[in-house]
Amino acid sequence: MKYINEYRDPQLVQQYLAELHRITTRPWTIMEVCGGQTHSLVKHGILRLLPELITMVHGPGCPVCVTPLNLIDKAVHLALDKGVILCSFGDMLRVPGSKMSLLEAKARGADVRILYSPLEAVKLAEQNPTREVVFFAVGFETTAPANALSVLHAQHAGLTNYSILASHVLVPPAIAAVMSDDDVRIQGFLAAGHVCTIMGMHEYQPLVDDLKIPIVVTGFEPVDLLQGILMTVRQLEAGRYELENQYSRVVHPDGNPHAIAVIREVFTTTDREWRGIGNIPGSGYEVKEALARFDANRKFAVNIPSARESEECIAGLVLKGIKKPHECPQFGKKCTPQNPLGAPMVSSEGACAAYYHFSQTLEELTSK
């Protein structure tokens, strides 16, 4: 596969690994923010190839994992009790709400559809004028432009039966929130390449300056990740803290101005509850007042009480990088992908599920 195989080149990987082993003299703790990066690190077995001095901690960048329980309950309620056509990206379906997941709601008769693009949901609304169509608009800045565009398309088409249940979350406030915890020992960040493709890099400079830590915008393939880690370790070893761009083949410092314009037209920044972490000020998007008729939150005025998380789940500590998934007493025991106690065990990008799927007998394997 062109433009993928080049970034999985075993020789290049070996060169980056050799250089990392050569320059690393002290222990360093680095967080990769994005779930896609976590997935790739474990899937390709990179964690076991890194120098022992380097510890990767897995950040809160899995949108499925941080979507609050309450919002899943809301989606289930809309689908099951309000008779809407509830459209969602695939991996949201298995996330357990306080009573059930969307997949279970589907089994009980709810009309839940898996879509790849929110524009498909707009099409569904056009085809089903007598039914309400709600798109479960989850994700980071990456999916925000497409979700925003769906609202503009629906507006343009004069649709009155389309709305989005928006739960967008934003990376920079999350980095600040993670670092504000006294127990956190993170010394550098790999920022999420796809988020920066949309938003650009400028909003990370204040974080670098305030927190005095290196942030390297990084891609998702093995060579990307190793290069990003190498750039971060080089800074750390030299005592530098700068904003750098490993993913320059995709990320422009200014981001994608068209996408940003669409986001600004539809969304406004709001405080957002993060599952496992809590409320982070200014960390989410909600639909603007002027477009309230496309906002399922306002349109259906559903009042679902906040649900309590499992007390045994340490998702918050995992998402902040304080604990590793396998350090949880319930990991692989009471909590498995078949029966998850918390969201990071559900999504394939969740740190717990990634560990479970790809490295559950980490110790056993490394000792061989």
Binding site: M1, I4, R8, P10, V13, Q14, G36, V42, K43, H44, G45, I46, L47, R48, L49, P63, V64, C87, F89, G90, D91, M92, L93, R94, L103, R113, I114, L115, Y116, E120, V138, G139, F140, T142, T143, H194, P222, P337, Q338, S347, S348, E349, Y356, H357, F358, S359, Q360, T361, E364, L365, K368
Partner: protein, 359 residues
Amino acid sequence: MTEMTTAIKAAKLKMQLQCPLPTLDFEVITLGHGSGGLLTNKLLDSGVFDLLRNDWLDQRHDGAVLHLAGPVAFTTDSFVIHPVFFPGGNIGELAVNGTVNDLAMCGAIPAYLSLSFILEEGLPMQEFWDILVAIKFAAEQAGVQIVTGDTKVVERGKGDKIFINTTGIGHLHPQAQISAKRIQVGDKIIVSNYLATHGIAIMSVREGLEFESGIESDTVNLNHTVEALLDDFGAAIHLLRDPTRGGLATVLNEIARDIRQGVHLDQEALPVDESVAGACELLGLDPLYVANEGVFVAVVSSDQAEAFTTTLRTLPHGEQAAVVGEVVADHPGKVVIRSAIGGRRIVNMLVGDQLPRIC
């Protein structure tokens, strides 16, 4: 596309052209067609089932009398695929090939099939006909006789156009000694053709996920290929499995669990067609978990593995055969893959369905 698939396509098209739908005074299946009464007989007499005629079906009896000698293999499978028509085929040939291949995996030479339909009221006769033509074609390709069958009709909304069950009987190949108990450490794991093609072909036409691709299902009967391999390699073939639902990962996990040994896989050796690999990247799916048709996994003794693979590559549907791993004494019960860049990870069994990712 290989010469073989081109030839199969041409033959299928020829049969479709030679078998036009008979003139009928009804256009859709109605509840009465499954009543067992007049309408059922009308359907049976309409010429629709003449497609599948043979001595057994002509008797119109409650069952078929078969003369079997020696050990036989016996298997059953139900087919509920959505959509019913997909790139490269339809549920009809899938229902024949699925059961034929299950028999072949037992080391048997498939001989007889039963064929049961559960039809949904309102199924257009033309679609039913197209499915029957596909069944006829697949049965002829495999060299099996359909000897008994049944048709039921359910109310509209209580089925998904058509469900098919086939049950098959085959004579065991005299050289076959297929048993997981015969697997030994050092045995090689061989995949017979490109992985994940069927699953991606189906996914490309699922509602809401449609994407343009030239990917077609590779559903096909594997019995002749397996028979030729059994002729040549007999007892060296320790196990055969077809990695349909749950993909290669699930089958290998079952093997590792059953034999209490480890399975080592080599990522780079896995045969995956470029366009299928691209679609998997795009959809966030792992080809190891995607459903297959027209592909089998063989566990073969290490001294014969190379010759087996070389022979398989010369046989129909084996062009891309490759040794992809081996049975190891390490990590018993677990499948471990070595990634292209040298990292290692556990490959677990599939949990639920593979769901496409957000981003």
